[in-house]
């Protein structure tokens, strides 16, 4: 029989205070035979869902509450509030939301007025002042004096005072300790957390840390001993627990009801909109198979009562359309014909033979997950629309809990232990490429003493703190919307970003409670496509949409197959470029496979080469089991997509739909939880029993692990492939519009603007320099006369590329009218400051006034004094004439002022000297034979070390004629590490490797050429 219930328990989601995971506390309570445990995180319900989920598994009851920080007479007091009912829980969340709203991020201060209306809340007061302050607004039956006994001498007088006030106010007294960890062994970690929070080192921590280790979850006997003089105060905890009947399962979540037209129900309105959309999609006549699919989906949606969710997504998409914002659904939503017809997604699932059940099923009864990609520079408009439409209380963004990773753990714990910061920095540097496991050897490598107690503590505590929450951040685009205010479900806090609010749960919590979430994500490719369509409309009068881009265009596929894809969405990376000539996509579905195959999942599962061999007919298409033919037929017997792996688990390993669904969740969360390993022991023996070869079974499992967070489902790959196709088509047929659009959509993609410009120039696109009388803020298309006869369209670089110009400068320039007759007029009209004027002069924007850049700099630095003058007088000053720049210097200045040059490539200036030394250009390398040894000099534009490449680093070098891909093995990289990491101009000696039209230079040695290139011209994008 129970003798007490712990009523004041803080998990490690009370950031930097609690020292045990919610699950650990629940498991410990279960092990101690306690039937219930309360979760009362500081100022919130952050750890509640995790505790709730674990408690459901173990049959432990969770009592819901929070430790409030109550402001009384200018002082803060801690009061534990417990929810008796659903209404009480709503009051608690609302009170906490108000408390957070008036404070800075991460803090809360609840006022008595915030909770005086609450009726189904119990308040446990730890101080006489809080008891007195709450008494006028609360019944005695809802108020309790909480006596805590952690065996500290200051507690006795406090308890005496508390009991006196309780007697006076006729409230009852209960006994409860503040639990911060499930076992005493976590006490050192709790001390460390407290020091991190307080910004102290342990040796000077003083009262920042607790005075003893009595904050563990105690057994009933221990508590009975501590409160031996007053057993009734423990008995009271049981009575209180009995009163608190609320559980998170009681949250009945309803998605916001859309404003429906008269006489329509949610379902009928969804049906009408869907068929209306279907008629538009299919040209008036909906094919029978599509009709049947829609009917089937609508039936499932009705049974699950998810109509409101689809209508909301439709409303958001409609808003985007009306506001001329390009958007497209991604992820599993692309499996739904309803989403396709509502315009949420752009892929026809019926034609693509995609499985609706991957998106929504009656068995799973989980809320659908629709991720909506939106033009990245207009996403904020959509977010603010959602806030505006649903209201701040009905819409809030989902949190992202920032957790300790290995480097932050070593840095923070080491600091608290007082270790030298320089040693810690060395240690964290060494940790960069390691797994998420702290190896004591590594700390020794960092120079920390092997047997020193501090090193041992660092290793032990940094390992323990891994995955502990540190603070709350904001999810990139996840929204929680509710029919009832969201702050009745979970407290809402202000986020760091202005005009954003965030709930206290992350996406996993939201999923676990089966709450609906809307993901609004920013995507640069959509911005680029939109800009390109607008340019084509403005300059050629062509109205194009994603849906009307000519399908299956041969020239586009030829370009893609040649690996000529700089700037093309999803297939522009070095790895994709190397794959394209091998896979040679010739249909849309090939592109879907291309997008999905160059991913860690298929690569780790060693699925890439078998697929390529089978595609080329070099290997027989073989199915490990007849059952698998249906699943793997589309991909020639090789599993490539995430859902294929799941179906494999069902068909080949006998997984039930529930197990398969668990596999999907574990795949998504394996990095955090490591839960995927249990599937290995379950899956492989079952596959072997089905007669599937062990080698195949092992490969499938490796792929599952690789899929983790990176695998693509087929529908998702199809959505991305569509955008890849559209951008490729634009690049192929309208390269100037595509270049202009992608330059205006920056930052996005894999390459720097300089590389995009060089690529455009190599494809014959004329790119014109920044000119204050011709350039706009954005890049524009400009008709120019070529060779006195033809008119061609060129790209004019925009002022946005001048380093140092921002929103203010843009506004000032756009408020004036070009062309300007002279520099003085421009300076006076715009009133730009000296720095901005200098930047423009340096970029060559004033050459239209007949001034070389140096003369312009000298002038603007003086003219900027007269920006406020109303009279158009040029100030008298001595004009010195400076030497004009040489051509190579012009290129360097361009790079320094605007990160690109339209006048030439930095390598052009070195070409003569490189040629005299016998170094080839990139275009010459394409003609080299396999196995040929050569040396090459180029500018480093990208360094990449994929996790799947066993330490190999891939360099992309560029010169004025194209790219050279260099493969650097680990031993070569280590030998020339400093050079490899820093060089902007790199010399490589190595051997040519040619296969399927793909050329790599395998580095044997790296060296620094003895020719100079300015650092301004170098901005490589490095990925590790």
């Amino acid at each position: 029989m129970d003798t007490y219930v712990p009523l004041w328990v803080k998990t490690n989601h009370s950031f930097l205070e609690g020292a045990s995971f919610p699950e650990e506390l629940v498991e410990r309570a279960h092990a101690l035979g306690l039937s219930a445990i309360t979760i009362t995180d500081r100022d919130g319900v952050y750890g509640l869902v995790r505790a709730h989920m674990r408690a459901k598994d173990l049959g432990v009851r969770i009592i819901t509450g929070a430790q409030l920080t109550l402001g009384i007479d200018g002082h803060e007091h801690h009061v534990v509030a417990l929810a008796k009912t659903r209404r009480g829980y709503a009051d608690l969340c609302r009170g906490l939301s108000r408390g957070h709203a008036r404070c800075e991020k991460g803090q809360s201060l609840v006022h008595i007025s915030d909770i005086e209306e609450a009726r189904d809340l119990l308040f446990l007061c730890t101080t006489p002042e809080s008891l007195r302050a709450l008494r006028p607004s609360q019944q005695p039956s809802s108020l309790f004096a909480l006596c805590a006994r952690h065996l500290q001498d200051h507690e006795r007088p406090l308890e005496r005072a508390l009991r006196d006030v309780a007697r006076e106010l006729e409230t009852r007294v209960l006994g409860a300790n503040e639990v911060l960890y499930h076992e005493k062994v976590r006490r050192p970690l709790q001390d460390v957390l407290a020091c991190i929070r307080g910004g102290k080192v342990l040796s000077e921590a003083g009262h920042t840390i607790r005075g003893n280790a009595e904050h563990d979850l105690k057994t009933a006997e221990q508590m009975a001993h501590v409160f031996g003089d007053d057993p009734d105060c423990l008995q009271l905890t049981l009575d209180i627990a009995e009163q608190c009947s609320f559980s998170l399962d009681d949250i009945r979540y309803r998605y916001p009801e859309e404003s429906l037209p008269n006489g329509q129900t949610e379902q009928s309105w969804l049906r009408e909109l869907t068929f209306q959309g279907a008629r538009n999609r299919y040209g008036g006549d909906v094919p029978s198979d599509v009709r049947a699919q829609i009917e089937r989906e609508l039936t499932i949606i009705r049974r699950l009562d998810y109509g409101g969710y689809f209508l909301t997504m439709h409303e958001i998409v409609q808003y985007c359309r009306e506001s001329n914002i390009l958007c497209q659904g991604r992820g599993s939503a692309a499996n739904s014909a309803v989403c396709f017809c509502l315009g949420i997604t752009a892929i026809d699932p019926v034609r693509m033979d995609l499985l609706f059940e991957r998106f929504l099923s009656v068995e799973r009864a989980e809320p659908p997950d629709i991720d909506l990609d939106i033009e990245h520079d207009r996403r904020e408009e959509v977010i603010q629309h959602v806030y505006e439409k649903y209201g701040r209380r009905h819409a809030a963004m989902v949190a992202n809990v920032i957790r300790y990773r290995i480097r932050s753990a070593v840095r923070d714990v080491g600091k608290v232990l007082g270790l030298p910061r320089t040693d810690l920095e060395t240690a964290t540097r060494l940790l960069r490429h390691r797994d998420d496991v702290l190896n004591p050897q590594l700390l020794r490598e960092a120079g920390l003493e092997k047997d020193a107690p501090a090193t041992h503590h660092l290793w032990s505590l940094a390992s323990q703190i891994l995955d502990f929450p540190r603070h709350l951040s904001i999810h990139p685009g996840g929204f929680l919307l509710g029919h009832r205010p969201v702050d009745e479900i979970v407290p809402i806090e202000p986020a760091t970003m202005e005009a954003r609010t965030v709930i206290q749960w992350d996406k996993y919590d939201v999923e676990n409670l089966a709450l609906f979430k809307v993901d609004l994500l920013g995507l640069g490719a959509l911005t680029c496509i939109h800009h390109a369509f607008d340019l084509l409309h403005a300059h050629r009068g062509e109205s194009i949409e994603i849906a009307t881009v000519p399908a299956e265009d041969r020239e586009t596929y030829d370009m893609v197959s040649a690996g000529d894809t700089v700037g093309v969405f999803q297939i522009e990376s070095r790895a994709q470029m190397a794959m394209l000539p091998r896979l040679r996509p010739s249909t849309f579905y090939d592109l879907v496979i291309e997008v999905a195959i160059v991913r860690p999942g298929p690569i780790q599962g060693d699925m890439v080469h078998p697929y390529l061999r089978r595609r080329k007919g070099e290997e027989e298409i073989f199915y490990p089991h007849p059952k698998l033919e249906r699943i793997l037929k589309k991909t020639l017997g090789v599993p490539i997509f995430q859902e294929q792996v799941m179906k494999l688990a069902v068909e080949a390993a006998g997984y039930t739909p529930g197990e398969a669904d668990q596999l999907r969740r574990d795949m998504a969360a394996w990095r955090r939880s490591g839960r995927i390993e249990k599937h290995r022991t379950r899956m492989i023996p079952r596959m072997l029993a089905e007669g599937i070869p062990e080698e195949f079974a092992e490969r499938v499992f490796s792929q599952i692990r690789g899929f983790g967070e990176y695998g693509f489902p087929e529908s998702h790959a199809a959505s991305f492939a569509l955008l890849a196709y559209v951008t490729a088509w634009l690049k192929c047929h309208h390269h100037e519009a595509f270049t202009c659009a992608i330059l205006n959509a920056q930052p996005m993609g894999f390459y720097t603007p300089a590389t995009l410009i060089e690529d455009a120039k190599r494809h014959g696109v004329e790119v014109l320099p920044i000119d204050i009388n011709k350039s706009s803020w954005d890049c524009i298309l400009e008709a120019i006369t070529d060779a006195g006869t033809d008119t061609v369209t060129a790209v004019r670089m925009g002022l946005r590329y001048v380093k140092g110009l921002g929103v203010v400068e843009r506004e000032r320039i756009e408020n004036t009218t070009a062309p300007y007759p002279n520099l003085a007029t421009f300076v006076r009209d715009t009133g730009l400051n000296k720095k901005a004027l200098h930047a423009l002069a340096e970029s060559g924007a004033f050459e239209c006034f007949g001034l070389n850049r140096r003369d312009a700099i000298w002038q603007v630095r003086s003219l900027s004094r007269f920006t406020k003058d109303s009279l158009p007088l040029e100030p008298a000053s001595s004009q010195i004439s400076f030497a004009s720049l040489m051509n190579e210097d012009q290129v360097l200045w361009d790079y320094r002022a605007s990160h690109h040059s339209t006048r030439g490539h930095p390598m052009q200036g070195l070409r003569d000297i490189l040629r005299s030394r016998g170094f080839p250009k990139a275009e010459n390398i394409r003609a080299c034979a396999h196995g040929e040894n050569l040396s090459y000099v180029g500018m480093v534009i990208c360094r990449q070390r994929p996790g799947t490449a066993s330490g190999v680093t891939f360099f992309t070098l560029e010169d004025e004629t194209g790219f050279v891909n260099v493969v650097v093995w680990k031993r070569v990289f280590d030998r020339y590490a400093a050079l490899a990491k820093t060089a902007s101009l790199l010399g490589v000696t190595g051997e040519i490797q040619k296969a399927d039209g793909v050329i790599h230079l395998i580095a044997k040695a790296l060296w620094a050429p003895d020719v100079a290139i300015a650092s301004e011209t170098h901005r490589s994008r490095d990925f590790h």
Partner: protein, 492 residues
């Protein structure tokens, strides 16, 4: 024509660091402006440069490139202390030495020293050698113009003797502008115009610089203007007042020693008074026959010139020490401050407490029992009782802020060191402590648990208040790791 010399210690912070850590000589070393990961590199040694590290790089980036990079901060205070030492050293070569704002650069006046050393080159070489012998790398330039000599020193190493102002101008014009202490953006902006050397810079019209490149650029230009040369502002010699005398034959009789000290102190105080100063403290060094040097630090309650006060303090101190041998030489060194005249207080405005008398009394106690004999308990933020306060030496008495006449209900008198109580089987707290034979514990109140210090030495104590059969109230604890009871205090 008047000559001027510049002594420059290039990369001064790096040189300071490498002198402090000579074992780093053969490693990659960087001076950073902050210990943290985002601290920026301000100076690099040659090896670090070879590894492609650059000034301005963040420490986090540099460590990524060179994992075994040694870094440290050289604080301005350290640089100031060493600069003072260097001034003192250079004052052995010329009475006029001035530290320039540029860290590690000094102007030294060579006037009148040419004949003494047999020419400027010899003189400059002596300075260079002197510094090299003390592990300083330096550049010594003898020229004509204050700042042009500095500019030449920046681009040269070793000793440079400039024969004419024209030669000085020619050489200094080649100095890269980046060597001067101009802000980075000003240097960059000037470089954009192709202005990269001092000569280029001085060729720009002076009047146009301020508006275009700011005050620093204009000020630098002005420094080199002909006819605006300030003479050297030499650092003052900072010598303490000192007197010493032989005791012959060596003597250990304190009365005779005091008598001898009185005479010496009298003339020392005369010197101090003549400088308008008063004695803040004095160091008394007694050179003993066949025994190590004996030193005493004596500090009066306030700076004084009163012979009898100081002599009395010396008498008190010497009365408490036993010398290990006869004194053969006495040396007295005083640390002085500017003498301050105080206005006499008006009658009726004097405090009831004569704090001056209190200070004098404390000074006498310190003189008699040592510098740390006067202390005050200060509360300290800690859980362990003995760590929750500290006895800290005080120099001055403070008037009590507590005007309340109420006495605390009980006073806990804490022992400086807990007293172990006799061990008692089975060594468990439940067994309770054992006291003396005729004393027994009637009630125990507690426990109050204090634990911590796991990162250094684990402490776990259960504290109790114990009431004995004699009515005494004791404060004791059970030490869990040591499994033993201790008496930590009594209450009365």
């Amino acid at each position: 024509m008047r000559r001027m010399t510049c002594v420059l210690l290039p990369m001064f912070p790096m040189q300071i660091l490498l002198r402090q850590k000579p074992h780093w000589q053969n490693a990659s070393v960087a001076v950073v402006d902050d210990e943290g990961p985002h601290g920026r590199i301000t100076h690099l040694n040659g090896l670090a440069r070879k590894h492609r590290l650059r000034i301005g790089m963040r420490q986090i980036v540099a460590r990524d490139l060179v994992p075994n990079l040694h870094t440290a901060v050289v604080s301005p205070d350290e640089a100031t202390v060493i600069t003072k030492e260097l001034i003192t050293s250079l004052q052995t070569f010329s009475p006029k030495v001035e530290a320039i704002d540029q860290k590690g650069a000094f102007h030294v006046d060579p006037q009148g020293l040419r004949r003494l050393y047999g020419g400027y080159r010899n003189w400059a070489t002596c300075i260079h050698r002197y510094l090299r012998a003390r592990h300083w790398q330096s550049s010594v330039t003898v020229g004509f113009n204050r700042y042009r000599t500095l500019a030449v020193a920046m681009s040269n190493v070793g000793v440079t003797i400039l024969e004419s102002p024209d030669q000085e101008r020619e050489q200094s014009d080649k100095t890269p502008l980046g060597e001067f202490d101009l802000p980075g953006d000003v240097c960059e902006n000037l470089a954009a115009l192709g202005i990269e050397t001092l000569g280029d810079f001085l060729g720009l019209p002076a009047g146009e610089l301020h508006s275009r490149f700011g005050a620093e650029a204009s000020a630098l230009h002005d420094l080199f203007a002909e006819g605006l040369q300030l003479p050297i502002q030499p650092s003052a010699f900072d010598e303490p007042s000192r007197i010493s005398f032989q005791v012959d034959p060596p003597d250990d009789d304190q009365h005779r020693l005091l008598f001898a000290i009185k005479g010496a102190l009298h003339s020392l105080l005369h010197q101090v008074r003549a400088r308008g100063e008063a004695v803040e403290s004095l160091e008394l060094s007694l050179h003993l026959e066949r025994a190590p040097l004996h030193q005493e630090h004596i500090e009066p309650a306030s700076p004084t010139l009163d012979l009898m006060t100081l002599l009395e303090l010396i008498r008190l101190r010497l009365g408490e020490v036993k010398l290990e041998g006869a004194v053969e030489e006495v040396e007295i060194l005083t640390s002085n401050v500017r003498a301050r005249a105080e206005q006499a207080r008006l009658p009726g405005h004097q405090s009831a407490l004569d704090m001056g008398a209190a200070h004098r009394a404390l000074a006498r106690i310190r003189a008699a029992y040592g510098e740390k004999s006067v202390t005050k308990a200060t509360l300290h933020n800690a859980h362990l009782p003995e760590a929750s306060f500290r006895w800290e030496p005080i120099q001055c008495a403070e008037g009590s802020a507590n005007t309340s006449s109420e006495k605390p209900a009980m006073i806990r008198r804490v022992f400086a060191r807990p007293k172990p109580l006799p061990p008692r089987e089975p060594k468990e707290p439940e067994a309770g402590p054992s006291l003396s034979q005729n004393q027994a514990i009637e009630h125990l109140y507690g426990p109050y648990r204090v634990s911590g210090g796991w990162w250094k030495r684990l402490v776990e104590r259960d504290y109790y208040y114990a009431e004995t059969n004699h009515g005494d109230l004791l404060w004791l604890f059970y030490d869990r790791p040591r499994k033993r009871w201790f008496l930590h205090g009594v209450l009365d």
